[in-house]
């Protein structure tokens, strides 16, 4: 018996057992920091969910005493997959009046010891001179690995950080497939009692294999402490009660770890320890394996999120679209941002954004806390109540909700009435999405189709959805010709999918396509639908 067989056999469990896990867990209760849905404000008041954002930035570190910069003491070969070890960094300028204080590392060295010798408040001017690489950004082409958190943890490239709200991971490239730097970040959100304010805590990690990434004049020592660990010197910047940076070079790679003030100490030390002992394997971040995000105009992908944003034809309350952009993930739409011409139709809809959430494509965290629920559950009363709860000055004209698995942010003019403008537009969108195209006309027309020929059981196969697989889309049946059907069936991916996607009378639909379906058979089916 293999694991796959066991996975399959689980489907034979009793319905009672299956349904016992369909709902909330036993003894379910809202926990602090847990995201909530529904028509209630989520008052997490004072929930200090520290976010550790570990930013390992590839940044030449100003290390060592005097005028010399001592590279990491390890004599080990460069990390597998990392760029070739860089030559020793050039000597860093010594900040006048500051002498380093060396602290010998030991297990369980408390975080306070890393900052024990700071004498003055960190010079903000110097912090502002830090390059962008300190904060997780680099130049060149990038790829996202944010969807790979579990895999990266299993590979040992990153530590397992529980309770993070968001995780992102990016790699940057010059030419070639191997990255020049990596950036990893975990984020948490602390919500105030006012709901209006939300602080972000984060740990960021950036790793790179070059030491000359930052020009020498950017070497700036902002603190006195240098922690020596196993022959490697870790320069510390910042303070215990503010933003912190740890920079070191080991095994041919520079690592910078950045954390905001509210990050729990033990979590930060866990991350520091992990990246000291287990640097990421650059071979796991090849360019071909990463995800690509890019923006496109709606005109280039007109089917993106079709039916999920209002258009002027839907309601007289909806202004014409002034512009719309689509965010593509590996060519698939994951967000649409619509801006409406509020000069043409005033006092109504301003913007409408739909998110198909991915780790790198998330709405503002505040949207999760202020989520009004799901569009299918709305009523005029609930919409009125929602806008009565919004504190003044916190975006009273924005509503956040979910819709068929998407997250939507809809911004209305400040004077837009919930009863007369907002609810009618939302109701219109909801009613359209519920359109169900199964019709007795189709069953009657195709009830005598011979089984085994395309399509199979047409009346039920042609279930209707408001959205469709764009890569398999044929077009509208009104425009079909035998030639266009032949061209459609000649595409290998169509045969492989076994589906025939089309629109008819305003509905999207698909029918199953038998493997042996001929173009003449399918065209005959289309002709019947058209009543010919």
């Amino acid at each position: 018996m293999r694991g796959q067989e066991l996975l399959d056999k689980l489907e034979l469990l009793s319905p009672e057992l299956i349904q016992s896990a369909a709902g909330d867990p036993p003894g379910a209760e809202e926990t602090k920091g847990q995201r909530r849905r529904g028509l209630f404000w989520s008052f997490m008041g004072g929930c200090a969910a520290g976010a550790v954002c570990l930013s390992l930035a590839l940044l030449p570190l100003f290390l060592g005493q005097g005028d010399s910069v001592e590279p990491g003491g390890s004599s080990a070969a460069p990390l597998a997959g990392t760029p070739s070890p860089s030559p020793s960094p050039s000597p860093s300028p010594k900040a006048p009046g500051i002498e380093p204080v060396y602290v010998e590392w030991m297990p369980d060295l408390p975080l306070e010891k890393y900052f024990a010798h700071e004498e003055q408040e960190t010079d903000r001017e110097k912090l502002q001179k830090l390059p962008r690489t300190f904060f997780g950004y680099d130049e060149g082409e990038s790829r996202s690995f944010s969807s790979r958190q579990e895999e990266l943890e299993e590979e040992g490239d990153i530590p397992s950080i529980d309770s993070a709200w968001d995780f992102t991971c990016h790699a940057w490239y010059d030419s070639g497939s191997t990255p020049k730097s990596l950036s990893v970040r975990w984020e948490w959100y602390e919500v105030s009692d006012q709901i209006a304010n939300m602080n972000t805590e984060e740990i960021g990690v950036q790793i790179a294999g070059r030491s000359n990434f930052i020009s020498p004049e950017s070497y700036i020592r902002l603190n006195r402490t240098v922690v020596r660990r196993d022959g490697t010197e870790i320069t510390v910047l910042g303070q215990m009660d503010s933003q912190k940076f740890f920079v070191f070079q080991k095994d041919g790679a520079w690592r910078l770890i950045r954390a905001t003030a509210g990050v729990p100490q033990e979590m930060l030390l866990q991350v520091l320890d992990h990246f000291f002992q287990h640097p990421a394997d650059f071979r796991n971040f090849s360019k071909e394996a990463g995800d690509i995000y890019e923006w496109a105009e709606l005109e280039t992908c007109p089917e993106a999120f079709a039916g999920y944003y209002p258009q002027q034809k839907d309601s007289e309350l909806v202004p014409p679209l002034a512009g719309a952009e689509v965010l593509l993930l590996n060519g698939e739409p994951v967000r649409i941002q619509c801006v409406y011409d509020s000069d043409t139709v005033t006092g109504t809809l301003l913007q409408w954004t739909v998110y198909k959430e991915t780790p790198d494509n998330q709405p503002d965290p505040i949207s999760r806390l202020r989520a009004a629920g799901d569009l299918h559950d709305f009523s005029q009363e609930s919409i009125s109540w929602y806008f009565q709860q919004v504190p003044a000055g916190t975006g009273r004209n924005i509503i956040y909700f979910t819709w068929d698995g998407y997250r939507v942010e809809a911004q209305f003019a400040e004077k837009a009435s919930p009863e007369d403008v907002i609810w009618p537009i939302l109701e219109t969108m909801r009613e359209q999405s519920r359109a169900w195209g199964l019709s007795s006309r189709w069953s009657k027309a195709y009830g005598d189709m011979e089984a085994g020929k395309a399509p199979v059981d047409p009346a039920v196969s042609m279930a209707v959805f408001p959205k469709i697989r764009e890569e398999y889309f044929f077009g509208d049946l009104r425009d079909a010709t035998l030639e266009s059907v032949e061209a459609y069936l000649s595409r290998p991916e169509i045969r492989e999918s076994g589906r025939f996607y089309f629109t008819w009378e305003g509905y999207y639909a698909y029918a199953q396509l038998s493997p042996a379906a001929e173009a003449t058979e399918l065209y005959g089916f289309i002709a019947r639908v058209r009543g010919e």
Binding site: M1, R2, G3, Q4, E5, L6, L7, D8, K9, L10, E11, L12, L13, S14, P15, E16, L17, I18, Q19, S20, A21, A22, D24, P25, P26, G27, A28, E29, E30, T31, Q34, R35, R148, Q149, E150, E151, S160, D162, S163, A289, K356, D374, H376, D404, G405, R434, W436, L438, S440, S443, D457, A459, V460, S461, A463, F465, K467, R469, R499, Y510
Partner: protein, 186 residues
């Protein structure tokens, strides 16, 4: 509309049954399919195919008391099939990860395939799961039946991911011992 009434529509061959079941359970079925397929479009098709199979199997089935479980089984089966058919260019998907984890429950050499009586095995699995505390049983089912990711299970239960991983590890070990005791040592 309650499940009994929806099943009655199926039996009457009333297409309104599909509308009702879509409204009542569509979201959850899509979520289940999406957990496995990680593709919203494919999950929608999976949901739609579930309705087709339900239409074709009611009658003779009449799942009045457990309509959701009936539909969810179909969805899960379709989604796992689709997941395996799709050639993943990138790293192993959820199916491979779950399979790998469940390998730990299998006594003896997992390299040796064997024909296992599904009904008997399901009975043994059921017996083991019923012996577990409610929380562990729920966690196991969410992970391996509903194919939730570890972070999703942790968030749903309001616990840390580390606790989920540790608990599942122990439950899998317990299942392995139970299977050995029941004679599934291959």
């Amino acid at each position: 509309m309650d499940d009994e009434a929806i099943v009655a529509l199926f039996l009457q061959r009333d297409e309104g049954a599909l509308r009702e079941v879509s409204g009542k359970y569509g979201g959850r079925l899509r979520t289940l399919a999406n957990s496995i397929l990680q593709d919203a479009s494919a999950a929608e098709e999976c949901e739609n195919d579930t309705y087709l199979q339900a239409w074709n199997s009611i009658p003779p089935h009449q799942p009045g008391g457990y309509l959701f479980a009936f539909l969810a089984k179909i969805t899960r089966h379709l989604a796992l099939d689709a997941c395996r058919r799709r050639a993943r260019k990138k790293r192993a998907g959820i199916c491979a990860r779950l399979t790998k984890e469940l390998e730990q429950c299998i006594p003896g050499s997992s390299d040796t395939p064997c024909q296992v009586d599904g009904i008997l095995l399901a009975g043994v699995l059921e017996s083991y799961l019923q012996s577990l505390p409610e929380e562990k049983r729920y966690m196991f089912l969410r992970r391996y039946w509903y194919c939730d990711s570890v972070p999703s299970v942790a968030k749903r239960m309001g616990i840390t991911q580390a606790k989920v991983k540790t608990t599942l590890h122990r439950v899998r070990a317990g299942l392995k011992e139970y299977l050995i005791k029941e004679g599934y040592d291959v």
